[in-house]
């Protein structure tokens, strides 16, 4: 890098070539905005689908069904599931979504029995507004995931409609689980009555296992238990379940990683182009600097620093813009009631900036080497 005393010179070059700087920064910012947004989507997929050693949740679904509208299981499976060795709890869940297709604004109603709510939500989930008692008191009460509440501007005491169901907001929950973000937990019987006009049918069972190592074994036992039943089951870990049911969406999001790489190439090309043109425009200026005693290596470093400044400015604007948009809109992809959150944090911002610095160095390197190697007399003859 360069000594601190040269920084004002570099910054003046950036500030006083405003049109070039503005156009380059705007281009880099746009590309970095897209890149960070794509990274946020990729991360959402990873969080929702990548298994971890601590996973202990299984989802029991109707065999060969992939949509909550078609998966129907009798609620009386519950005691049989609970008797299987290794199962610590099982919760029958009725799932109703306002939109079964891929969408950015999906409300997923999950009907759960009152007494089993604690077993349903993630371990790190908390009710941050309202109370569990408030939810238990009203038959139409709902506890909303914070993303859903924020997106729809709902607070405790409000009423809302979705999928033909009217619910009263009894509380807001925060959770580190992606599937708790866009959900409205309601009473199971209330949801059954609202949708089927009868009790006894659920979409799935969420089963907790005492040891992550037993997941596959318990899943196999559950499926074997109902193999000959009228409604056979398919049991998978929750994340494998998401990965399969939302497979098309995940594949599509996976494809966007190539767009992300494209964005980085665009940043490289933009900064590179700006610096190459700038260096060509300033052949004489660099010759003057060399005449004054600036070495070729120092001039090269000044050029690379300028490229880094342009890259970082654009990267900061773009990455911060993406972060702000994602945080403010709190969007998430949902398919068949399952959520794939789009999440960005300061770590992603820092990653974007680091990439911008790297690309700035790369973009400035070739023109810097060319400028550093050009003999002074040749520069003066060239202009």
């Amino acid at each position: 890098m360069i000594s601190l005393r040269y920084w004002p010179f570099v910054l003046k070059q950036v500030w006083r070539h405003r049109v070039r700087t503005l156009l380059t920064v705007a281009g880099v910012a746009t590309a970095m905005y897209l890149f960070v947004a794509i990274q946020a989507m990729q991360r959402g997929v990873a969080e929702a689908t990548e298994a971890s050693a601590a996973d202990t949740t299984l989802v029991v679904y109707r065999e060969d069904r992939f949509c909550p509208f078609t998966s129907r299981l009798p609620e009386y499976y519950l005691p049989q599931i609970e008797r299987i060795d290794g199962v610590t709890s099982a919760v029958p869940v009725r799932v109703v979504v306002n939109n079964c297709r891929a969408s950015l604004d999906v409300v997923t109603f999950r009907g759960v029995p009152d007494e089993r709510f604690a077993d349903t939500i993630g371990r790190d989930a908390n009710i941050t507004s309202g109370t569990l008692e408030g939810w238990q008191r009203r038959s139409d009460a709902a506890l909303l995931g914070e993303t859903l509440a924020a997106r729809r501007g709902l607070k405790v005491g409000d009423q809302f409609d979705a999928a033909g169901i009217t619910a009263y907001v009894a509380g807001i929950i925060t959770s580190d689980q992606p599937q708790d973000q866009n959900v409205a937990y309601v009473h199971l019987d209330y949801l059954q009555q609202q949708t089927d006009k009868k009790l006894g049918t659920v979409t799935q069972f969420n089963v907790k296992v005492d040891d992550p190592a037993k997941l596959e074994q318990v899943a196999a036992e559950i499926d074997a238990l109902f193999d000959a039943a009228e409604q056979p089951t398919t049991t998978r870990s929750e994340k494998a379940f998401v990965a399969q049911v939302a497979g098309d969406m995940i594949e599509l999001i996976g494809f966007t990683r190539y767009l992300g790489w494209g964005c980085l190439i665009a940043v490289l090309a933009l900064v590179g182009n700006a610096i190459v043109l700038s260096v060509q425009d300033r052949i004489k200026e660099h010759a003057i600097l060399q005449t004054l005693g600036y070495s070729g290596a120092l001039i090269g470093r000044l050029i690379v620093t300028e490229a880094v400044v342009l890259g970082v400015l654009g990267g900061l604007v773009g990455a911060a813009g993406a972060l702000a948009t994602i945080r403010l809109t709190r969007v998430s992809f949902s398919v068949d009631g399952l959520s794939i959150p789009i999440d960005a944090d300061l770590h992603l911002l820092a990653t974007g900036l680091l990439i911008a610095v790297t690309l700035g160095v790369l973009a400035g390197l070739v023109p810097a080497i060319q400028a550093a190697r050009r003999p002074i007399a040749t520069c003066f003859r060239a202009v």
Binding site: Y6, K12, R16, Q290, L292, G293, S295
Partner: protein, 242 residues
């Protein structure tokens, strides 16, 4: 011992198929504190000689010793450091950096020297005062006249207090009053501050400011005139080299 000693100094360029030899085995001594004018037709090697003495070009062969150091043997980076300490260059077309103010242009060579910001400021202010432009320090080159730009360029050349000043047709782009002001300034720098001044010029009147005039032709010394300063008396040594 002379401050500048050129021995068999030769410079050749390749241009397409042919080889051009702007300087051909030149021998020359320049004393410290002298004011030397280089004259001659286009292509005679004046600017090439000036560039070699200023350390911005390397000779093809021969030696170029300045203050006891053969700068022909210095690497590019060492030559850059040497230029920074020893030479101030004044161009015909001023060559100020357009996005920097007069102050910032003069400050540029000082950035190479690890001194405090305060001292840097003082030296830049002194240089601008010396050329009579202290009140124009925040003006950009586009806001200055040609004569003022050239005086800023001279301030930039002297701000590091180099022993040698080289000037490539410093009045070539100026009107007469500005040219006179610039030449008066350069003469003061030579006479009052003892700077060794080497100037390329096509103009005989401008050359009269110098106390010695060299005429080059086809890369060789054609005429060497030593003048008593401003007296009009001239001693000529045809083909001599000292």
């Amino acid at each position: 011992m002379a401050l500048i000693e050129c021995r068999q100094l030769t410079k050749t360029y390749r241009k397409g198929e042919s080889t051009i030899k702007p300087l051909d085995r030149l021998d020359l001594d320049v004393e410290q504190g002298s004011f030397l004018a280089l004259m001659g037709p286009s292509g005679s090697g004046k600017t090439t000689l000036l560039n070699l003495i200023a350390g911005i070009d390397h000779p093809t062969s021969g030696s170029l010793t300045i203050d006891g150091q053969n700068i022909a043997k210095l690497s590019r980076s060492k030559l850059a450091a040497w230029r920074s300490d020893n030479v101030g260059y004044v161009f015909q077309l001023y060559n100020l950096v357009p996005v920097l103010t007069a102050y910032e242009n003069v400050e540029l060579p000082m950035l190479l020297h690890p001194i405090s910001r305060k001292e840097r400021h003082e030296r830049v202010a002194t240089a601008l005062s010396l050329v009579g432009l202290a009140d124009r320090h925040d003006h950009y080159p586009r806001q200055l006249s040609g004569g003022q730009e050239q005086r800023v360029a001279i301030a930039r050349a002297i701000v590091t207090d180099p022993a040698i000043l080289v000037a490539d047709e410093p009045t070539g782009d100026l009107d007469k009053p500005s040219a006179l002001a610039v030449m008066d300034l350069l003469t003061r720098l030579n006479q009052e501050l003892g700077k060794t001044l080497i100037m390329v010029t096509h103009d005989a009147q401008t050359a009269e400011y110098a106390n010695r005039t060299l005429h080059l032709d086809k890369g060789r010394l054609a005429d060497d005139s030593v003048q008593a300063a401003f007296s009009g008396e001239t001693a000529t040594t045809q083909g001599a080299a000292s």
